[in-house]
Amino acid sequence: MTNSTLTQATARDWLRRQSRWSLPEIIFWPLLLLPFVLFPTYLPLANQIAIAALFALSVDLILGYAGIITLGHAMFFGLGAYCAALLGKNGWGEPLTGLLIAGAFAGFIGFVASFIIVRVQHLALLMITLGLGFLTLELANSLGWLTGGADGLRVPRTWPIFNYFRFDLWGYTAYGYSLAVLFVCFLLSRRLVNSSFGLALRGVRENSTRMPAIGSAYKSHQQIIYTISAAMAGLAGALLAQTTSTVALEVLSFNRSADVVVMLILGGTGRLYGAIIGAIIFLVARDQLAGINPQYWYFWIGLLLMVVVLFMPKGILGFISRLAGKRD
């Protein structure tokens, strides 16, 4: 790329190109429809993957773009799941409104939490997110009358989507629904990261010392993205509750918070698609490895994680895009 004749117009063009849909992107999304025809018996797994991908996407927005590390994001996933489950249990089984209410609830809690989150950094931030996660888990555990405690909640079957698409036993509707929600959230995220706001978030991640020196009260940026991320995690949790008709305390567990970060690191942070690729790799590997040996499959995840972190510091997608000679 020679830039010797760069002008205002070419500069504008260059920025526009950064957010243009690339060919691999356009090919990627239709591929996600393949499970419907190729692996119809694996649709419940595909549904789990779509939900995990949405959850990982929510974490990518804060971790990959705004540099806010977290080990407690299952908190918002779980809040969304319980919120949707309780709606269903109390007679409101309409999926879309239930989904939105659950997302709004998780987002609201995220907004409240964001006031603490922006005050701390690094290890303290990890501990705060971890602590908030534990608090929420134990709160749900002790409020047995509401959450079912350790027994969890069984939710009546969610009503048909648009009063038409019934949730079937094979998971056609479930996967279609989760995939559609994932795609919409992806489009919103993509717009967000390619906006001036997305640029400001990258600025915070790249150098939070400089941000105030260019006049940015960047903590409000961080609060906004944390709220959006929490809401999106809540949507993912709500999808799980609605499509599987059960919620257990596990949705709030530390394991879930840690797994989602592992998925994101495997796929690659700060590129949105890393969340989806990471979720696919993690859950397909878990499915296959657990089939071989149900006890020790984390061994292989651990090994994979170490290989990726050591040899592909920007994740599998970062590695591929470097092979392809792209700016990363």
């Binding site: 205002q8 500069a11 920025l15 957010s19 967000l192 906006s195 001036s196 990258r202 260019i214 009260a217």
Partner: protein, 254 residues
């Protein structure tokens, strides 16, 4: 001595202690509109600390800071920048994985309060992008505008330091050793750029190279052990016995 120009930035008896060490001792400065003041002094004199106090990275133990007559002593860093008081850093404080175009566009967007618009594509912020490119062009960075900052030559990164500050449209610009670490031939190029900045911008710069200081400063503030030793014209400073003794005497025989 400031002439008829109004004072834009004023510090009143600014004092800062780090434990028992007094790093800033009752510093009172007046920067008139459109000034070109140099801040000099031996290593450890507290020059950067003074800049940190003025721009809000540090809070003074006592004293006041007035910008255009308004007390900003307790204002946060970003608020001061929005009022027109901007600094650059002695050690590059840039966005390594953003391009200069993105970095400066970001600074313009923050100034125009459009950085929070997450629903609008960046490429639709045309005015901000065009202004950013203009700034880069003025600072001779247009040819590297779309390369990652981390890949730029060091001298170019020093220019980007200034470009980022200019994007905030400062009334008062504090340059903390803009040419730090830059070879001598390049540093005079850097100061050519600085001297071409708008005349109504008030500039205070820290610089160690006395040739450059005497060439570009209309007034010089000599800081020693946290306090102002002398404030005078370059000729006055050059002939001042006290300055020779504590500062120029060892470093410079001019």
């Amino acid at each position: 001595m400031a002439g008829n120009k109004p004072i834009v930035l004023q510090t009143e008896a600014l004092t800062k202690n780090f434990g028992a060490l007094q790093v800033t001792r009752s510093v009172s400065l007046n920067l008139p509109h459109g000034c070109r003041h140099a801040l000099i002094g031996p290593n450890g004199a507290g020059k950067t600390t003074l800049i940190n106090l003025i721009t809000g990275q540090l809070k003074p133990d006592s004293g006041r800071i007035l910008l255009g007559g308004e007390d900003i002593t307790n204002a946060p860093v970003a608020a001061r920048v929005r009022k027109g008081l901007t600094r650059t850093f002695q050690i590059n404080t840039l966005f390594p994985d953003l391009t200069p175009l993105e970095s400066v566009t970001l600074a313009v967007c923050e100034r125009e309060n459009v950085a929070g618009q997450f629903w609008r594509g960046l490429s639709s912020q045309q005015a901000a992008i065009d202004e950013a490119f203009d700034i880069l062009e003025k600072l001779r960075l247009a040819d590297v505008a779309t390369r990652n900052t981390r890949t730029l030559a060091y001298g170019r990164q020093r220019l980007l330091e200034i470009a980022l500050a200019l994007a905030t449209k400062p009334k008062v610009l504090l340059l903390d050793e803009p040419a730090a670490g830059v070879p001598k031939d390049e540093s005079s190029m850097l100061f050519d750029v600085i001297s071409s900045l708008p005349e109504d911008m008030s500039i205070l710069f820290i610089e160690h190279d006395m040739d450059i200081v005497f060439r570009f400063a209309s007034r010089i503030v000599v800081l020693v052990a946290g306090g102002v030793l002398v404030e005078d014209t370059p000729d006055g400073v050059r002939t001042d016995e006290r300055v020779r003794e504590v500062y120029l005497g060892q470093a410079h025989n001019g």
